[in-house]
Symmetry: C2
Subunit: 337 residues, 2 copies
């Protein structure tokens, strides 16, 4: 039996907590450390912080990333921010310490168009350390890009790719309900869209991945964010929404080549969505439609993918990789290290 894979969790928010509980189920993995700057978490036992029944785990959450990474680490699972400029130095620190990294940072899922220089630097750092860096999650990283590319394997020609995701935000946690503007007036929603605080991050990254994978030569990506408005009163565990108030977002990203639409991604996340689903439509030879009724659950799926990607991450060549490059699969709990 080989040695277990030593994992550090970087960021112990809701997704990070879900991830560490999953990691504990995998015989091949062992959590050797956790990093979080939050003074309410740093210094405490990781199992207690995430509310695990079998806590304590004898693993402390630490605010001192350098100290945690000074010990031998095989993989860092990184879940701190959606924006690559905010996390580039954290990722660099992990790579320089010789650890592979899987991150849920949305902008890392396919960073080559928005952050080409940062992507090149991270790729170089990963290669120099002989490790692999991957940004992924459910969206971006799976339903609107990886799954589109996977299905395209049966196609002889692809002219256009469409993905529509409908998420019922009622069942999601409060930060997500707030992120989509649930309960705001339309005016306040528009103000927050303008300031950038009501927004799902990652659609342009998915457009880029799909365009590059399918050779659709997208030269322009547009993005719009519109409110979905309540036509009846709604209530979640956290919020009450009156008629005329916002229930969530309809966010659309389009990829155009010479003015012609090639990729259309539509994300609907709002309280009270009754037709939750993920739908992919490929136009070409043949046309192909795929539906996941109910849709993939965002939080569960993101935690799943981050952990399930670890075997492929470790098997991949050194450098910055994306979901496009790796075969994704469930990581069986009893799989050998």
């Amino acid at each position: 039996m080989k040695k277990k894979i030593r994992v550090v969790q970087y960021g112990v928010g809701p997704i990070g907590a879900s991830i560490v509980r999953l990691i504990r189920q995998k015989q091949a993995l062992v959590i050797v450390g956790a990093i979080d700057k939050d003074p309410e978490k740093a210094g405490r036992d990781l199992g207690e912080v995430v509310g695990a029944e079998d806590a304590p785990w004898d693993v402390k959450v630490s605010a001192d990333s350098a100290e945690v990474l000074s010990h031998p680490v095989d993989v860092v699972v990184h879940t701190t921010s959606s924006f690559l400029p905010d996390v580039a130095s954290q990722l660099m620190e992990c790579l320089d310490a010789g650890a592979c990294v899987v991150s849920t940072c949305e902008e890392l899922a396919y960073p080559f168009r928005k952050h080409p220089e940062m992507a090149a630097k991270l790729d170089e750092a990963a290669r120099e350390s002989g490790v692999t860096l991957l940004g992924t999650g459910v969206n971006p990283g799976f339903v609107m890009d990886k799954l589109v590319l996977g299905l395209s394997a049966v196609c002889q020609r692809v002219d256009h790719a469409k993905a529509i995701r409908i998420v019922d935000a009622s069942k999601r946690r409060l930060p997500l309900q707030k992120k989509v503007g649930a309960g705001l007036t339309v005016e306040e929603f528009q103000r927050r869209v303008t300031e950038g605080t009501v927004k799902h991050v990652g659609l342009p990254e998915s457009v880029s991945m799909v365009s590059d994978g399918l050779g659709l030569d997208v030269d322009t990506i547009t993005e719009t964010i519109d409110p979905v408005v309540a036509i009846e009163p709604l209530r979640t565990d956290f919020l009450e929404i009156e008629v005329g108030q916002v229930t969530g977002i309809r966010q659309v990203a389009r990829g155009l080549a010479n003015g012609v639409e090639k990729v259309y991604l539509e994300l609907n996340m709002y309280v009270g969505a009754v037709d939750a689903s993920d739908t992919i439509e490929l136009s070409g030879e043949p046309n192909l439609t795929m539906v996941i009724p109910g849709g993939t659950h965002g939080d569960i799926a993101t935690a799943s993918i981050a952990v399930n990607a670890i075997p492929a991450l470790l098997a991949a060549p050194a450098g910055l990789r994306t979901a496009r490059d790796l075969p994704f699969c469930f990581f069986p709990p009893l799989a050998p290290p």
Copy 2:
């Protein structure tokens, strides 16, 4: 610009013909030879044999595999038989010539359970030549295995995997209609099932791939083949089917672990199926259902996957690989070699 990838087509039946037409659309690929023992094809121009509008292609079909493989070849696309023992020497010859191979041989899609020694020999031969060998297609190779594994990436636990494929054989070529027994009496159908001539090859291979990928520990695989019987007269371009005659097959493979079903694959291929579709159901955390209404077209998809797999085949480490190991995607016509 790099040199084009030199491809040989081994087997110029209906699927092989579809494949070479696709290869001609890819700027990165060039067909340098074709092998077929059929005296009606050998010696003729490949483009003429496959009925291409732009024939002749200045590529001859040859019955002499050794001669064709004595020239530099990067990839052989192999489509001659469903059974690994029938093709092992053909595959060996290609590997020994230093060519990567993608084959639609169903038993090669996941040969480790039924033909472990042959799989080991092929793996060794591929590694010795520093090339990669892949068996794939739409089924096995995609809808009932690769796609199941790909979807499982969003799961935190998988207890059971099910795939149901319904194909309307009316729209398929005559050999397929015959393969599923369309137009036979029930007695004749049963006789042909017993002698092995009415059967789809590859369900146990898919069960094995799914079991290994998901860690379901299947120890026993069962397979049943039943007739679907006409309740009204049916007619295809090739056949007339009376009430009470067979329209096609319902073939079920089950994977059991300690007597408990873990994998259920059901393939329905019959004339007059009105609800053609591919459905995957994963039971676990979360449960997940995926539907492709209309289903993936078997012949188009198999040719597509064989050609689309070439970039991943060339990028993979030497040895015997399966769909499980590789990221699948459409191969854009203008992609660089």
